[in-house]
């Protein structure tokens, strides 16, 4: 019998510092239960400096579907967390204009063991890339822009 994981999910319109947010989340996990989670897995994704066609990128624009995106992230995180029996999950995702080098996504999972933590982190990241309504538009240095259809290679 697996209990639902405690999830924290946020869409952020401003830049965030992933390590600072991770530290706050770890403190909350420890506060909830100081010894329950012996394994943690993290993923931090940043905006690269080139567009898909190799041209210099000046910014990524992130559009979402207010209401559905949050709800879908909750569904995905809850299902993935229960499947792997993890304790805590954190998902932070930028919206709006994001610059090269800035963090765009942070996924963190705390569990009893490394297997569930790493598998859940990887699965949840892939799930949100394909199943949460976000759309990226690349703004190139020459001022042109293009919506991206699909995801970058794994």
């Amino acid at each position: 019998m697996q209990h639902p994981p405690r999830l924290q999910i946020e869409l952020l319109a401003e830049p965030f510092e992933p390590l600072r947010r991770l530290e706050q989340w770890q403190q909350q996990c420890r506060h909830a239960n100081p010894t329950a989670s012996a394994a943690e897995a993290f993923f931090i994704g940043r905006v690269r400096g080139q567009a898909g066609d190799g041209h210099p990128l000046s910014a990524l624009e992130l559009e979402h579907y207010p209401g559905m995106t949050e709800r879908q992230l909750e569904r995905l995180g809850s299902a993935c967390g229960q499947r792997h029996g993890v304790h805590h999950g954190l998902v932070l995702h930028r919206i709006g204009r994001v610059l090269p080098g800035e963090a765009i996504v942070l996924v963190a999972i705390a569990a009893d063991r490394r297997g569930p933590a790493q598998r859940c982190c990887q699965e949840l990241l892939e799930a949100l890339k394909h199943e949460a309504p976000f759309w990226k538009r690349e703004w190139r240095a020459d001022g042109s822009a293009q919506w991206i259809t699909g995801n970058t290679p794994w």
């Binding site: 994704g45 559905m68 995702h93 949100l128 919506w147 699909g150």
Partner: protein, 82 residues
């Protein structure tokens, strides 16, 4: 439900679909909105419904999902999150 809500659904478009169509949302009469697929063809949106995901009331739905007055129907172009 009463009033305008009882007679229509709300249709929403996002990203490239929205820009190609030139609008982001509009009301559509429920008596014509038999299914998301029917609305897609009535609106004469650019592209192929096979490449578009359908959502009804903030949850993914099939193209033949029955629609009710007051529903929010969204057509979602290919997702690129993370």
């Amino acid at each position: 439900m009463t009033g305008a809500d009882s007679a229509t659904i709300r249709v929403r478009l996002f990203a490239g679909l929205r820009e190609a169509a030139g609008w982001s949302e509009q009301e559509w009469p429920i008596d014509r909105a038999h299914s998301p697929e029917a609305v897609w063809h009535q609106l004469q949106l650019a592209g192929n419904l096979q490449t578009v995901r359908v959502a009804v009331n903030h949850a993914f739905a099939a193209a033949d999902h029955p629609l009710q007055p007051g529903d929010e129907l969204a057509f979602l172009p290919p997702i690129s999150g993370g």
